[in-house]
């Protein structure tokens, strides 16, 4: 019996002194102390996604072609909208032409359901797009770049902030606008903030470029298959 138990839980036999247990001090910033700022003070405006009943009433469908959904948020680095938006036909502009529904450039788009609560930075391509009802767009004061906020909120610390304020009574939790405004973002000291902000902004552009590269590669693959099948047909 004992042998069986050992084989099931081999970790139990490992000595605990290989790595000492972590203390809370290990998580605190070692180089300089950070101030935090409550989100409510740096958020300029908040825009909710469009409810499905409104969409049905306005556009005749619950999912118009130009709708940004949670699955379109790619959070690998800073957070971008990964869908190939160029596929949306120009004729569908009338679906999202209403100025009220437009998403601002450099806004941070946040999923209200989690975990994980996904965050991404909006770009100018989204001017003719709509947000689904589970997303929210926030615009910020000019001195904090959207890329930094999105990256922070996507990080483990940022996700803990979400969990701190979202009611955790079910596996999928929802955060509302008021709870979102309670989230704290660390402020950087003046001597490093420029470099850090620039790094995150560059990282955002880098992620967009990678995304574009992936799309072009996929198009190239399709083009090669088209060319080959065209040759075969002849």
């Amino acid at each position: 019996m004992q042998n069986n138990k050992k084989s099931r839980n081999p970790d139990q036999s490992k000595p605990h002194d290989i790595m000492p247990p972590l203390s809370p001090d290990d998580f605190s910033p070692r180089y300089f102390s950070l101030e935090t700022l409550v989100a409510g003070t740096w958020i300029n405006s908040v825009k909710r996604g469009t409810y499905s009943y409104q969409l049905k009433k306005q556009y005749g469908s619950e999912t118009p072609a130009n709708m940004i959904k949670i699955v379109d948020l790619d959070v690998s680095l800073v957070g971008i909208i990964k869908s190939d938006l160029s596929t949306v036909n120009k004729s569908s502009d009338n679906l999202g032409g209403d100025a009220r529904d437009q998403i601002w450039k450099n806004a941070v788009i946040i999923s209200m359901h989690g975990p994980p609560f996904k965050c991404a930075v909006a770009d100018e391509r989204l001017n003719t797009h709509l947000l689904s009802e589970n997303l929210i767009a926030i615009s910020m004061n000019n001195h904090i770049p959207a890329a930094y906020i999105s990256a922070y909120l996507n990080s483990a610390k940022g996700q803990k902030e979400f969990e701190k304020y979202a009611p955790l009574h079910s596996p999928i939790v929802r955060i509302n606008e008021n709870q979102l405004k309670l989230i704290e973002i660390p402020l950087l000291p003046d001597e490093v903030c420029d470099s850090v902000y620039s790094w995150f902004e560059t990282a955002y552009h880098y992620e967009c470029t990678l995304n574009h590269e992936r799309i072009v590669l996929s198009q190239l693959a399709t083009g090669i298959i088209q060319a080959i099948s065209g040759e075969l047909q002849k």
């Binding site: 005749g60 036909n89 470029t209 083009g223």
Partner: protein, 457 residues
Amino acid sequence: MTGLSEEWIKLIGKINRLLNLIELKDNERLEYFLYYLLLKKELSGQNLNSSVPGTISWRDILTATIDHSEDAGKKLDLAFSLLVEQKFKRVTEDFISPKFDSLPPDQTNKIINALSSLPADDNNLIGEIADFIIHESPSFTKKGGSISTPKYISQLIASLVVSSPDLNICDLNCSDGTTLIECASRSTNIVNHQALIFSGISQNKQDLTVCLLNLALHDIPLPNIYTWKKNGKLTDYKEELKTCNRIIGLYPPFFAAPVLRKHQKDSIIDVVNLLSPGGMGAIIVPARMLGGELDASARTTCVNNDTLEAIIRLPTPMFLGSGVGTYLITVKPEKTQPAKNKILFIDIAGFLENKKNTNLDTSDLEEIFKKYQHFAHGSPDQDGGLLDNFTCVVSTEIIKKSNYILTIHRYVQPPVDRIDIESCFWDLQETEKKRQNLENSLDIHLKKIIEKLKKRN
């Protein structure tokens, strides 16, 4: 979307809220709403002769509302029973007595007052309001087994079916009656002819009541009504369908009548056999019927007998609780000479996907109708529109060679956008350069951060 103005939508919302306060269930609320509309429509135009001396009109009910608030419900009950007796006697058993008197009098009075602002002489408006509330009602569109046919599909069926003035239509699943209403609006002579409806998929009497009320509110004479018998199939109604020259609807009635499923493999042949020589059937079927094993014999018979005319892929899944593809097929016992030994395929779902749209508009419907007309009458098709890419005429010989498989993707292959490899290549080169530059600047920023951190320490 509906053409109702904001003013009327507000009024509908107000009445709906008042009905909501009475604490009726969703489906009851819809029924009561339609009953109120029917009474308003019928009593505004003419007076009803009551068994006791005198008449009853909407004005009487309104007066009762203002003077003696308790009497309004009684008057409504009386008016309704008289209306059924004098005008809808044939369908009395299918109408559920609404018992207006049992509703709270203050809410009833408010509803009567709200309805009084509707113009008495505009029957189209009342029909439009009925359409609106049926299509907005959650009980009729999602719950309870009822399916409301999307309006553009009803319009499509009506445009294909209504080609001659003498129409004798049979709707195999009444649903909310939208398709029959569309057919009636396009035909000049349907009033003098018989129309049959079968109770809906769910065999639910409440659905049938909604359908009959909808027809009455659109000024369409009430048709003969049949309900599906237990273990019954379409051929059991041979006598009733004797004079019928158009059969439309969803057949076989899946999901709600499981006993009918065993007959489904011959369903299309049944429809063809029951039609008179000049007749036509427009039936909505699941995708499985065009390529599945179960229906292979029916497909073979239809193709060999040359009774299958057109196969249209619809964009909306219409079978409750499943996302299976839906097709509209038209069958004719005798096809026109130009269409003989040919089948028309139209992929509307692909067409709408390409257009990034979800509904067919009027111009699309016209284009589809023209395509069908060109095919049926053999006139040259010179449209050259987008729909051309999603349309194909296939000879029955090719279908026989394909082992009688009628799946639309075998025959309709819309051209894809050609991708220019060279421009993709240059785009990729530029993107790679840009990426390298960004990587360099990331390194520079990172070095700065590290330096500053070191200085600080």
